[in-house]
């Protein structure tokens, strides 16, 4: 039966070509746009997780309220005890201390006076510990443009763009000017041992990266850290698990009277990422819904045209005694086959487009030169397993729905008038 229908579809191209093309276009668009949104959102979330939010983040409650100001006067203290507790309660998670700080980086001339300077966004991570995964997590090695990763106190990485702005290169000493945790002035000379480019305007504008022990010394944060970030094994985010861990941790401090009690947030609870993730899901759902709706109408119309073209054929089949239900079932079966062919073709085209955009990406840096949001400069699509069916199922469904609607006309034909209609 299927073979018979299949031969009919292949031999009578006027019966199948247009529906296959329409289905393929719809499926390929759905697959491509879903892959694009998933890739763009995934990259943004991954970038946020690595640089800013972690999969979970622990801060003090007042720090959380003012976190955009990098308020190190509200930082976590006695952080070793907190790390011990986190490692004991959640041993599968990798917990890392970080300090974010702002200030001025000043580059001196030969006489020691200011040659140039610029505002810096500082990030202190564990660069020196043997077991630290921070260097890999931050992709520091591939991000290095010149030089190397700091190996001892007093060494710093700065972003390549920032180094050009303040006219300070490899081997040059620069001075960081900022405020300690207590508000005192902080001055510290650093030797630039490397420059980096992360591919995010927000990071590349004025980043300086130092070891966390340096930051603790400069900012008077003995056994302190602005934030403790948690990462799942293999750095793969699991929202349900992250929210469960955060809820369990926060329950321990629910009744705490300490103004500076710690609080944990999952990645999705930070930086408005919840709305971004929901937005991505809604957009994908909308593509599928619009596709099914629009394609069904188009294919309904196509089915009606096909029905008109095959009016005589159906009439003869009915006149020969074939049941209306059988003809209808044959039409639906034919639609399933056409839908499958169109969806396979559309999925292949869509996936090829997604793969091409995954490899080459779209450079948006020129459109957002002043962008402070942590987002990648190159937007890439991503081939994910669900793309193999996200367009396929609606493609078949739309074809079947369109045919089912147009095929209803079969039941309106009267056997008594068939011969008159057919002018036999």
């Amino acid at each position: 039966m299927i073979k018979f229908l299949f031969k009919g579809i292949l031999r009578d191209k006027s019966r199948s070509l247009l529906p296959i093309i329409i289905t393929a276009i719809g499926v390929s668009l759905t697959v491509f746009l879903s892959g694009y949104i998933r890739g763009a959102m995934g990259d943004m979330i991954d970038l946020n997780a690595r640089f800013e939010t972690g999969h979970m983040k622990v801060m003090t409650q007042p720090y959380l309220k003012n976190k955009d100001q990098m308020p190190n006067d509200l930082a976590l203290l006695e952080v070793s005890d907190l790390m011990d507790k986190l490692n004991l309660d959640f041993p599968e998670i990798s917990w890392e201390k970080r300090v974010r700080f702002g200030g001025l980086v000043d580059s001196p001339d030969s006489t020691g006076l200011t040659k140039s300077q610029g505002p810096a966004a500082g990030l202190a991570i564990d660069l020196f510990s043997e077991n630290s995964k921070e260097v890999d997590r931050m992709n520091l090695a591939p991000a290095i443009v010149q030089g190397r990763i700091p190996q001892k106190a007093g060494e710093a990485l700065i972003s390549e763009d920032f180094s050009q702005k303040i006219k300070a290169g490899l081997g040059d000493d620069v001075t960081f000017v900022g405020s300690t945790m207590n508000g005192s002035m902080a001055f510290q000379n650093f030797n630039i041992v490397g420059t980096v480019r992360f591919g995010s305007a927000a990071m590349d504008k004025g980043a300086i990266i130092i070891d966390i022990t340096d930051a603790q010394n400069i900012l008077d944060m003995e056994d302190g850290a602005g934030e403790v970030l948690g990462y799942f094994p293999n750095d793969v985010y699991d929202n349900d698990e992250a929210e469960a861990i955060a809820a369990s941790f926060n329950a321990d401090y629910k009744d705490s009277e300490d103004e500076f009690a710690p609080i944990m947030q999952s990645l999705k609870q930070q930086n408005g990422l919840a709305s971004l993730l929901d937005y991505a899901d809604v957009m994908s759902g909308m593509f599928v819904a619009i596709f099914v709706f629009a394609m069904s109408i188009v294919l309904w119309n196509t089915g009606l045209l096909g029905g008109l073209r095959r009016y005589q054929e159906y009439g003869i089949r009915l006149a020969l005694g074939e049941a209306k239900g059988h003809i209808y079932k044959m039409m639906i079966s034919e639609a399933v086959l056409i839908g499958i062919l169109g969806s396979i073709l559309g999925s292949i085209i869509g996936l090829a487009g997604v793969y091409a955009l995954q490899v080459y990406g779209i450079d948006i840096s020129q459109f957002a030169p002043q962008n402070n949001m942590l987002m990648p400069n190159i937007i890439r699509a991503k081939v994910t397993p669900d793309l193999f069916y996200i367009g396929f199922i609606p493609g078949v469904f739309a074809m079947v729905l369109g045919t089912a609607l147009s095929g209803i006309g079969i039941y309106k034909r009267e056997t008594a008038t068939l011969f008159k209609e057919l002018e036999v």
């Binding site: 300077q117 207590n182 005192s184 500076f260």
Partner: protein, 245 residues
């Protein structure tokens, strides 16, 4: 009829607009008290933090409105830090890094040592009459002292604050409170002045509380330990070389 005329006359007087003194004269009197050609002072600045308080001691030399030099004496973390202001430029020397760094642009709006004062607040030594047009808007009692309420509006483009509202002691001509207001009308800072003493023939408030109204907390207390008006200050004090000495 006679009584009616008397009554109308009384009512007329009571509803007549209140006569205020000339605002320009008032702010000129303030300038005479608060500013001098030169000044040497030692002061203590107490900064109230969320977790701890800090008191910073410094010695300052000021010449006119364009030159000033400050050396921080205590605590140990700040000791040896020096600031030099020449015209609209500010340099800071830090002994820990042995560097002299120029502070400019938006950094001047940043907090001075974590206090509620900004570098700009510290740098602006100009007299009120040079920066603002004044208008007396009322009379109030502040801490038991009768005060004129004066509205100041900047007449120069580079004023740190576009507007000020100042409560001036009607007898001593020193400000008792100053509200620093942005062009939009938003209250940015409030300075409360107290411990008014007569020093070298002029009234002077030895204690001030600066409160950044955009931040929480008690603000920053600034207290003069000693003050000398119009002393002779060696010229070399106001040079970059003195920063490293």
């Amino acid at each position: 009829m006679k009584y009616a005329i008397i009554l109308l006359a009384i009512l007329g007087f009571s509803f007549a607009p209140q006569q205020y003194p000339n605002a320009d004269t008032i702010i000129k009197n303030i300038d005479d008290n608060m500013y001098s050609n030169s000044l040497i002072s030692t002061s203590k600045m107490t900064i109230y933090g969320k977790r701890n308080n800090r008191t910073i001691t410094s010695k300052s030399y000021t010449q006119g409105s364009t030159k000033s030099f400050t050396e921080y004496l205590a605590p140990a973390r700040e000791k040896g830090t020096k600031m030099l202001k020449l015209e609209d430029k500010l340099w800071i020397y830090s002994p820990s890094s042995d560097r002299t760094i120029q502070i400019s642009g938006h950094m001047l709006k940043q907090s001075l040592m974590g206090s509620d004062l900004s570098y700009e607040d510290m740098m602006d030594e100009r007299e009120l009459t040079d920066i603002y047009n004044a208008k007396v808007t009322g009379s109030e009692v502040i801490d038991g002292r009768k005060a004129w309420v004066i509205a100041l509006t900047a007449k120069v483009t580079d004023a740190t604050y576009a507007k000020q509202k100042v409560w001036v002691d009607q007898e001593r001509y020193v400000p008792l409170r100053q509200d620093m207001i942005a062009k939009s009308g938003k209250l940015l800072k409030r300075v409360t002045l107290s411990n008014v003493q007569k020093i070298s023939g002029r009234w002077f408030p030895k204690k001030m509380n600066y409160k950044d109204m955009l931040k929480q907390g008690k603000g920053t207390d600034f207290e003069f330990v000693s003050i000398q008006f119009n002393p002779k200050i060696p010229v070399h004090i106001f040079s970059k070389a003195s920063l490293k000495k």
